[in-house]
């Protein structure tokens, strides 16, 4: 019954998406200043649709929680012996469930937009909701026609197949929903951009409506990528935190586009410049979200994330991608000429720096896109090539290094036009930091070029991030400005972590007999014992390692090598010892014939800064949203108060009239 309610809700939601699309489209046909009689249904349709889609997802969640083995999806992806938390997260650990989550978030954000956004002109709002309905309809069709999550088995299964053990981890509980919410938040930015383009309303008022959605999506993408990177780091057991794996790239590309879009929309809101840029980036950002979904969901990549292997689905998403992106770029090409160029600015100005960095972000995006898609393209012609870190790192650095330098000075520049001479001291300070740090580090040893550059830039950026506060009364700095400062500082922190990990990591791989000791950096690691243990759906061998820093008191670390039986697979559970200045990473491997155990130990200095940086960047985004909302609420209250006062005055002035 539960599954049937979910399926019915999904069909009803699809029908409402049609209504929303048609009604929203009709808003365009209304004469200026009037409201089309049929256009009034778009908002309620979006709200009810959001309720239905969320209901459908809740029903699936329930089916997974209770391990309803009469559902095909549950039987193939879950297992009655799994811990409850992984039963729940398993809901989106498969193709159909994750697409339902995608659609649920899409409908929910559409509903929120329809329910709470009252600032836009009705025509623009109608067009926006119409586009949102059109996008949602495609994904409902995909879900209902080719990946029905509520399909029943003719005979209920006796037991489920279980979930890939790599995905039975708390990282999976956070990572995909956050990332999806980010992807889908960009759909609202896309719909708003299309709505504004269709009704020729590309102006600062529109940008102010779009900005919180872009910021919100960007914060979620940042958190999703950070969580995903940390998950890969501790779960895959080799201490790598970024592999330039196509699935990671699929999440990085929308982030790059969203970063550019966020800056561009801020310029549009503040200065009424970069109108076409903002629209183009809005289309690009959501294109990258859809491309990411296509790459991960279609099965063109073979990776732990690619659960689907059915080419029919891939063709379906590719078709949707073609319709939406092709359509959007066609409308853009037709209408972009009609969008008047915004306000002008000089090369040396804050807008100039933002344009430069948006172009650099787009170039990095192009490189990542090329490196991700090219191997897929050649594979179609039976030529297999691999594109990995030796390609991505230098190619991205060509654009990232100038971008980071401009990022250091950009926030110091004035809007519209500035004189470089005014900032001589700041320029000299930043240059001195970059050169000084690189020279100092090179003095102590030979390190690869990129980590070295990273260290220099990180130092300069960390200082430069706070320079915009110089000479200002800190208590009066707007919250949004604090957001920018913290986000930029977060980039410096993450960059420092990446560079340190790249330059100073220490590795020790060895076969150790119980009682044996190994040395890594300042740490001595002693293998005390190895014991078998059992969990709810796995067995494992667990090593007890005593770790002493500089001969101090021992800390016990217990890495495990787990063997899951359904599905049969083994994973390494690394053990981490976190210090303020880095992490000790320990993994237990196989037993050699002579009875010794393979252990792998890394000392990774400041590696945690990578994720601290990510969190700081996201925090900066949250502050920016909070700041904008606060200003907005104050403005609304002031306007409401003003209107009320005017009405009072009018009432007072009007009253004596009939008395005469």
């Amino acid at each position: 019954m539960i599954a049937e309610i979910g399926l019915a809700a999904l069909w009803l939601a699809a029908a409402l998406a049609v209504l929303q699309m048609v009604s929203g489209g009709l808003a365009l046909r209304a004469a200026p200043g009037e409201v089309n009689a049929l256009a009034i249904y778009a908002r309620p349709a979006a709200v009810v649709q959001a309720f239905l889609a969320v209901l459908a997802f809740t029903m699936l969640l329930w089916a997974f929680a209770t391990t309803d083995l009469s559902l095909k999806l549950v039987a193939t992806n879950s297992h009655s012996m799994k811990p409850l938390i992984y039963k729940l997260t398993g809901t989106w650990g498969n193709h159909e469930g994750s697409m339902l989550l995608w659609v649920g978030v899409l409908a929910l954000s559409g509903g929120l937009l329809a329910a709470f956004e009252k600032r836009l002109p009705e025509r623009t709002m109608g067009a926006t909701l119409g586009v949102q309905g059109f996008v949602a309809l495609g994904f409902y069709a995909f879900l209902l026609l080719s990946s029905n999550p509520f399909e029943r088995l003719p005979v209920p299964a006796g037991e489920g197949n279980g979930l890939n053990p790599l995905l039975q981890d708390i990282g999976l509980a956070i990572h995909p929903p956050t990332l999806y919410a980010g992807y889908v938040g960009l759909s609202v930015a896309f719909s708003l951009a299309m709505g504004a383009l269709l009704t020729r309303e590309v102006n600062p008022a529109f940008a102010r409506v779009m900005r919180p959605w872009v910021l919100g999506a960007w914060v979620l993408l940042t958190l999703g990528i950070t969580a995903g990177s940390y998950w890969a780091y501790y779960e895959l057991g080799w201490g790598g935190w970024w592999f330039w794996d196509p699935v990671e790239n699929a999440s990085l590309m929308p982030w790059l586009a969203a970063t550019a879009l966020m800056h561009s929309v801020s310029v549009l809101a503040a200065r009424d410049a970069l109108r076409t840029w903002t629209i183009m980036l809005g289309v690009l950002a959501f294109s990258m979200s859809m491309l990411g979904t296509f790459l991960v969901r279609s099965g063109v990549l073979t990776s732990v994330h690619a659960f689907a292997v059915d080419p029919e689905r891939g063709a379906f998403i590719l078709g949707l991608l073609g319709i939406y992106i092709g359509g959007a770029f066609t409308i853009f090409a037709l209408r972009a000429g009609a969008v008047a160029e915004g306000k002008r600015f000089a090369v040396v100005s804050r807008e100039g720096a933002l344009v430069f960095n948006n172009v650099m972000l787009s170039a990095i995006l192009a490189i990542v896109l090329l490196g991700t898609l090219y191997p897929l393209l050649t594979e179609a012609f039976d030529v297999r090539v691999s594109v990995g870190p030796p390609y991505f790192n230098p190619a991205a650095a060509i654009f990232a290094v100038p971008m980071l330098l401009v990022m250091a000075v950009g926030p110091l520049l004035r809007w519209r036009s500035d004189k470089p001479a005014r900032l001589q001291f700041e320029f000299a300070l930043i240059a001195a930091l970059v050169i000084g740090v690189i020279a100092a580090v090179s003095f102590f040893g030979q390190f690869p070029l990129l980590p070295l550059l990273g260290l220099g830039l990180a130092a300069a950026l960390a200082v430069a991030a706070f320079l915009p506060l110089k000479g200002r009364n800190l208590a009066r700095v707007p919250v949004a400005t604090w957001g920018m400062v913290i986000a930029h500082f977060g980039i410096a922190v993450a960059l420092f972590g990446m560079a340190c990990e790249g330059a100073f990591s220490k590795e020790r791989l060895a076969a150790v007999a119980p009682g044996g000791t190994e040395q890594v950096g300042d740490f001595t690691v002693t293998l005390d014992s190895v014991t078998p243990i059992a969990g709810p759906n796995w067995t494992a061998i667990e090593a007890q390692l005593a770790v002493r820093e500089d001969g101090g008191a021992p800390v016990i670390l217990t890495p495990q090598a787990r063997t899951f039986w359904s599905p049969p697979q083994s994973t390494s559970e690394s053990a981490l010892l976190t210090r303020w200045n880095g992490q000790l990473y320990v993994v237990i491997g196989n037993q050699a014939e002579d009875g010794r155990w393979q252990i792998r130990v890394w000392w990774k200095p400041f590696v945690t800064f990578i994720w601290y940086g990510g969190i700081l960047v996201a925090l900066g985004g949250v502050l920016a949203i909070a700041g904008r909302v606060r200003v907005d609420v104050r403005r609304r209250r002031a306007t409401a108060l003003g209107t009320q006062r005017r009405a009072d005055v009018e009432a007072l002035g009007a009253e004596p009239v009939p008395a005469e």
Binding site: R344, L370, E507
Partner: protein
């Protein structure tokens, strides 16, 4: 139900060879470092840029697969024997094809990987000149486009 059973059976069958391989002891340098830290650093850098052919998007330096272990052993023992990392890479490419190396080289099949970034640099320069370079001369006329 039948299809589900079939998938289950196939999954079991797929899992078995892996289990069978695990029983073989790994080669000596699969999980052990070279004594000389300089040689080990060379080997490590090379291993991070070689693809584990049995895995999904992992380098042989990041993989538990037995084949990755064998390849690590090959890399380390050849480095120890005095071969240069590039010679080892070429030997592996000759054996397993371009796919094994994460560092694409310019060839008839990979040239767009290098041509397109150059093109991107040119486009970036063009866009920046158009958007920013033109401004200064336009500013004097004060015309809004």
């Amino acid at each position: 139900m039948i299809r589900w059973l079939l998938t289950a059976v196939l999954a079991m069958a797929a899992a078995m060879p892996v289990l069978a391989q695990d029983t073989m002891p790994p080669a000596p340098y699969a999980y052990n470092q070279l004594q000389d830290p300089r040689l080990e650093a060379e080997a490590s850098e090379l291993m991070h840029s070689l693809r584990c052919l049995k895995c999904q998007s992992q380098s042989i330096a990041d993989s538990d697969a037995p084949m990755a272990g064998d390849m690590r052993h090959q890399v380390r023992s050849r480095i120890l024997a005095g071969e240069s990392p590039e010679a080892i890479r070429r030997w592996l490419i000759a054996r397993y094809g371009d796919y094994v190396s994460y560092e694409p080289e310019v060839s008839s099949t990979t040239w767009p990987l290098f041509a397109i970034p150059v093109l991107v640099i040119l486009i970036v320069a063009g866009v920046l000149l158009r958007r920013l370079g033109r401004r200064r001369s336009d500013d004097d006329t004060g015309a809004a486009a």
